[in-house]
Amino acid sequence: MFHESGLITKELLVAVAMLCAAAGVVVVALSVDFSPPEKSTLGEDYEYDLSDASEIDPALLICVERPQRAIPTGLMVSRAVASGPDGQVCVAGDRSVRIFSAKGEPAGRLEFDDQPRCLAVGAGGVLYVGFRDHVRVMDLAGAERARWANAGEKAMLTSIALLGDEIFVADAGGRAVLRYSAEGELRGKIGLKDKTRGVEGFVVPSPYFDVVAGADGLVRVVNPGRHRVEIYTPDGEPRGWWGGRRSLRIADFCGCCNPSALAITPDGEYVTAEKGLFRVKIYDGDGEMLGVVAGPGSFLPEVVAGAEAQLGAAPTALDLTVTRDGEILILDPRAAEVRVFERVRERADASSS
C-alpha cells in the first residue's frame, strides 16, 4: 500500500539497508579492541606480572614534582645529568652536552664526535665528560682543555664524581672506579677484588655503575649485582656498605642489578633510582629508607608495545643529581626531560614502610 502510494521506493529501501550496514560496521569497529594485548594470551600462568609492586603507598611519598619546571633536553637519547656548583644543569646525550641555567633556560650546547655517557661539573665551570673509554675536560664555552689517556679496551665509563682536586670515574667494563688527579693521571683503582682488604669486587651485569662523592671525603659506589652501596676512602679502603636486600619490597632493590643511579644530598642522604621497575627513593646515611620520590606510575612504562622497535637499544634508565639547594633532578630519557622534585617531608610515616 505504501509502495503503491510512493512513500517507500526501492531507492529508499536500499538507502536504509546501506545505513544499517554502515551502522553495523561502526558498532563492530568500536567494540573490537585493535590494540596489542597487554597480557599473555596463554593465561595467568604465563603472565609476567609486576602490577602489585608498581603500586606505591601515597603515604611513602615525601617529594612532589614541579612539572612547570621540567627541562626538555631536546635529545633523542639522554644518558646522564649533572648539576654544577653555580646551579647550572648539564645533560649528556646523543653526541652533545646541553647546558641549562639554574632556572632551566638553555645556556649552551657542546657538540662531539662521539657519544658522551657521563659527566660532572666542577668549580669554575670545568666540565668532565666521560666517553666510552676516556674523559675529556671541557669548559662551558666548549673549549677542550684536556683529553685523558684511554682507560683500556674493555672500558665502559658510566659515572664521574669530583672530590677535592681528584676525579673518580666508574668503569663498568673494568668493574672498578678509576682515581685520577686533576691532570688526568691515573692514581689507582677502587673495588678490585682483594681478600686481604675485604673487598669482594663489583658485580656489574649491565652498563649502570654509579659513583658519588660525599662531603665527608668518602666515595660511594653502587655494587649493582649485589644490590648495595659500598663506601670507600679515596685510596680504596672499604668503609662499609648498606642495602644488599634484593626483592620487590619498596625498601629493597629489585631486579638483577640495582640501583642503577645514585646521588647524595648536601646532608649526606642518598637518592637512588632503579631500572626495570622505575623507583626513586631516599635513604639516610645508614641505608634506612626515608621515603619515595617517585614510583613506577610517575614514568612511562618500561615495556610498551612497539617502543623497543622505536628505541632499539637506547638506554631508558633514569639518572639523578641533587642540586646545591637540595632539589632532586631526575633525567627521564623516555620523556626527554629533566624532571624536578622537591622534598616536602623529612621521612614517610614509619607505619607505611
Binding site: 596489542p36 594485548p37 594470551t41 609486576l50 658485580v203 649491565s206 649485589r226 615495556v303
Partner: protein, 220 residues
C-alpha cells in the same frame, strides 16, 4: 600471439554455437558448417594457456627473488617489535611451535638473580621449580664463577611462550629473545603466527640470512 589467437577462436566458437539455433530452425536441409571447437582444440588451447601462465609466473618469481637478494624468503620475528603476547606458542601449525627462545651471550649479564630465569618474587635463588619463571623448565642455569651464572635454552622444552623474554627485558639487558628456528619451521606460505601477531613483528627475510638477532648496537 598464440594465446591471443586461442582466445579469439574460443570466442568465435561460442558465438557460433549461440547463433546456430536460428539457422537450424530455418534451413533444415542445408548442411551448416560447424565452427565450434573440438575437444582436442580445447585441450590444446588449455595446455598453451597453462604454459603461458606458468612461464609468466616463473618470470615473476625469478624477478622477485632477484630483488630479495637472489634467494627465497622465510618468516622471521623482529625481536624489537615482539611483545611476547603468547601467540607464537599457540598459533604455529606445528604441535610444538617453531618459535624458540634464543640467547645472545654477549649481551647477557650472567646475573645471579636472572630475571629471565627467576620469578620476580623468588625467595631462593636455586633451581627449585617454584622459583623458575619458565613454565616448562627450558632455561638451564649453571654456575660459572662467584656470582656469575650461565643460562642456556633447552629448545626441546621451549614452547616459545616468551615469559623469560619478558623478565629479561623488564630488568636485564634483553639478551633473551624469540626467533623462528628454521630447522623446525615449515615456512608456510601464509604463516599462521604472523597472521595472528598483534605487533606486526613477523616479516619475510632472505633464507640465506634467516635470523633477526639482537646485539648489533654498541649499547647492547
Amino acid at each position: 600471439m598464440r594465446s591471443l589467437r586461442l582466445a579469439g577462436r574460443l570466442h568465435a566458437g561460442a558465438s557460433a554455437g549461440s547463433a546456430r539455433r536460428p539457422q537450424e530452425t530455418h534451413t533444415m536441409t542445408e548442411p551448416v558448417p560447424d565452427n565450434s571447437p573440438t575437444r582436442r582444440d580445447i585441450l590444446r588451447g588449455g595446455l598453451r594457456g597453462a604454459c603461458g601462465i606458468a612461464l609468466t609466473g616463473l618470470a615473476a618469481t625469478l624477478l622477485g627473488s632477484k630483488r630479495a637478494g637472489g634467494g627465497s624468503l622465510v618468516w622471521q620475528l623482529d625481536p624489537y617489535k615482539c611483545i611476547q603476547c603468547g601467540n607464537c606458542a599457540t598459533h604455529c601449525v606445528l604441535g610444538v611451535s617453531a618459535v624458540k627462545c634464543v640467547h645472545n651471550y654477549r649481551m647477557c649479564g650472567y646475573c645471579d638473580f636472572c630475571t629471565g630465569y627467576f620469578e620476580p618474587q623468588a625467595t631462593e635463588l636455586d633451581t627449585g621449580a617454584e622459583n623458575q619463571l619458565c613454565p616448562t623448565g627450558a632455561l638451564i642455569r649453571r654456575k660459572i664463577e662467584d656470582e656469575r651464572f650461565e643460562y642456556t635454552v633447552d629448545e626441546d622444552r621451549c614452547v616459545g611462550c616468551g615469559r623469560c623474554v619478558k623478565g629479561c627485558n623488564a630488568f636485564g639487558n634483553g639478551s633473551l629473545f624469540l626467533q623462528v628456528r628454521h630447522d623446525l619451521c615449515l615456512n608456510c606460505n601464509e604463516c599462521s603466527i604472523a597472521a595472528a601477531c598483534p605487533a606486526d613483528a613477523f616479516r619475510r627475510v632472505p633464507a640465506h640470512s634467516p635470523y633477526l638477532l639482537k646485539g648489533a648496537g654498541e649499547d647492547e
